[in-house]
């Protein structure tokens, strides 16, 4: 479904991603794991069109997307729940959710999806009139995911959703990711939290200073203690 072919991204000062190739088959949960500064967020930004590629190619459903505008990529169903949530803090929970459906025109489908989001995260319904910035960390992450789902994604990319969350909330997050995947949405998960990755995904790529250094079955990779120590600190 999504293919990164030899992708390189350069910032003015540094090369953040070097020749990365990643493949995300339809229906799967694929993870990208690596320490801080490894280049994980840059990979997702490149897919979403927030940063240009220096070289390489990104393909979604057979279509080259790496020269498209951010909004066109969202329109194709490639949706990102970014690192740090990036909510609209002074707008209500409801307004945030509606903005997730910004490109959609089907009012009825939107209403149905909103019900679905509230069923998945009942807390959001209770707080729908509150400002997003007043929610707890876990609720904010739910809102960010709910907002992402409102775009009716084919591929949902999540950048370190577990960041700053308590262990019980991370359990809930794992369930949520599985539920989302079972509803037919392909997931690309970027994480530093190895236990979340082991629980939800099948295949994993390990990134170190901008390169893929290991890839393979999550269970096998994570069983290897040296991998855990070397890449996850």
């Amino acid at each position: 479904m999504l293919k990164l072919k030899d992708v390189t991204v350069r910032y003015e000062t540094a090369e953040a991603v070097r020749g990365v190739s990643i493949e995300v088959p339809e229906g799967s949960v694929i993870s990208v794991i690596g320490a801080n500064g490894a280049g994980k967020s840059t990979i997702l930004k490149a897919i979403s069109g927030l940063v240009p590629l220096y070289s390489g190619e990104i393909e979604f459903s057979g279509q080259k997307i790496n020269r498209m505008a951010v909004n066109q990529i969202v329109d194709l169903g490639v949706v990102q729940v970014p690192e740090g949530r990036r909510l609209f803090p002074y707008m209500s929970v409801m307004a945030n959710i509606k903005l997730g459906a910004y490109l959609r025109r089907d009012k009825r489908g939107m209403m149905a999806d909103m019900e679905e989001v509230f069923r998945l995260f009942p807390r959001l319904k209770e707080r729908s009139n509150q400002k997003a910035g007043s929610l707890s960390g876990g609720e904010q992450q739910m809102l960010a995911i709910g907002r992402g789902l409102m775009a009716r994604p084919k591929l949902l990319m999540m950048d370190e959703p577990s960041l700053g969350l308590a262990p019980v909330v991370i359990d809930l997050l794992a369930d949520t990711i599985r539920t989302i995947n079972q509803s037919g949405i392909t997931v690309l998960l970027v994480e530093q939290n190895a236990s979340l990755v082991t629980r939800v995904s099948q295949k994993c790529y390990v990134i170190e200073v901008g390169r893929v250094v290991l890839e393979g079955n999550v269970q096998e990779l994570m069983a290897d203690d040296s991998v855990r120590r070397a890449f996850l600190g």
């Binding site: 927030l50 949706v79 909510l87 997730g100 910004y102």
Partner: protein, 286 residues
């Protein structure tokens, strides 16, 4: 001092506030969507007023029609400026400031060469006085209050009720977050420049109807607009309204209590004191 002088000066304060708010709202929209301060905003205000002057005097159209045409033309100029000048400078505060200073010089000199330096004037369509409780209130001032606050209400509704308005709020709170929802930042920037310039043109045209128009009239508007958005809190729309009311009322009322010079001092003193206690402005976020 009698009651009618006081009421008249309060009304003057509100009408100044109406103008300051219209100017400040345009600055605020452009600042919060594009992350730049568009310093040639006063020139848009000035050209908006000249537009009405030429359309009423040369083409003989009535004031309201002229106001609509001039406003739309200035909104269009805003779109052109966004596309050609400010889009590449989005988020680059210093470069945008320098580019817009260049624009001030260009626009002022273009107007100077076409219209000359002498002040021009046109008739306000609002004449006569309204008597309330035995106090005479001039219609031209009252019309500015009504126009100003009507437009503020319309802008609030626009931002609350329309998708474009919500997109503007979203961009001002988190640019990348907004882009990731599929919001086209270029398009919304164009809309913000259109609205900002249109509001400035209306303000200029209303002022021109009471006083006169000249190529340098924009400097005063810019200065007041900047004071308002700093006082109100950078990027805050309610802040621009409250800041405009405070500065407008100070400007309207102080001169009857003391001399104009001291009134000016007191005005700035009050702003400095408020900012000492709330450096982020009245409704600014930290």
């Amino acid at each position: 001092m009698d009651i009618s002088t006081l009421l008249q000066s309060i009304l003057n304060g509100f009408s100044s506030a109406g103008i300051y708010i219209l100017v400040a709202l345009g600055l605020t929209l452009v600042l919060s969507i594009m992350n730049i301060v568009q310093l040639a905003h006063g020139e848009i205000y000035m050209i908006g007023a000249y537009g009405v002057y030429y359309i009423t005097t040369s083409l003989g159209l009535n004031f309201f029609l002229a106001l609509v045409i001039s406003t739309l033309l200035m909104g269009g100029l805003g779109i052109v400026l966004e596309r050609l000048c400010f889009r590449p400078l989005r988020g680059q505060f210093d470069r945008a400031a320098i580019a817009s200073i260049g624009l001030i010089l260009i626009l002022q000199n273009v107007v100077l060469s076409i219209a000359g330096g002498d002040p021009r004037s046109y008739m306000s369509p609002f004449t006569g006085v309204l008597k309330i409780l035995g106090v005479a209130i001039s219609w031209d001032r009252l019309s500015i209050v009504l126009f100003g606050f009507g437009l503020v209400a319309a802008l609030f509704l626009f931002i609350r009720m329309t998708k474009t308005g919500q997109a503007m709020l979203a961009i001002s709170q988190d640019r990348d977050g907004a882009a990731l929802q599929g919001i086209n930042i270029d398009r919304i920037s164009m809309a913000a420049m259109f609205l900002g310039c249109a509001l400035a043109a209306i303000a200029g045209a209303l002022v021109g109807a009471i006083f006169s128009v000249s190529p340098t009239m924009g400097g005063f508007a810019l200065m007041k607009g900047i004071a308002v958005i700093i006082l109100g809190g950078l990027g805050s729309i309610p802040g621009a309204v409250v800041g405009g009311l405070i500065i407008g009322l100070i400007d309207g009322i102080m001169p009857i209590l003391t001399t104009t010079h001291i009134a000016g001092l007191i005005g700035f003193g009050a702003i400095i004191i408020i900012l000492l206690f709330r450096p982020q402005g009245i409704s600014g976020h930290e």
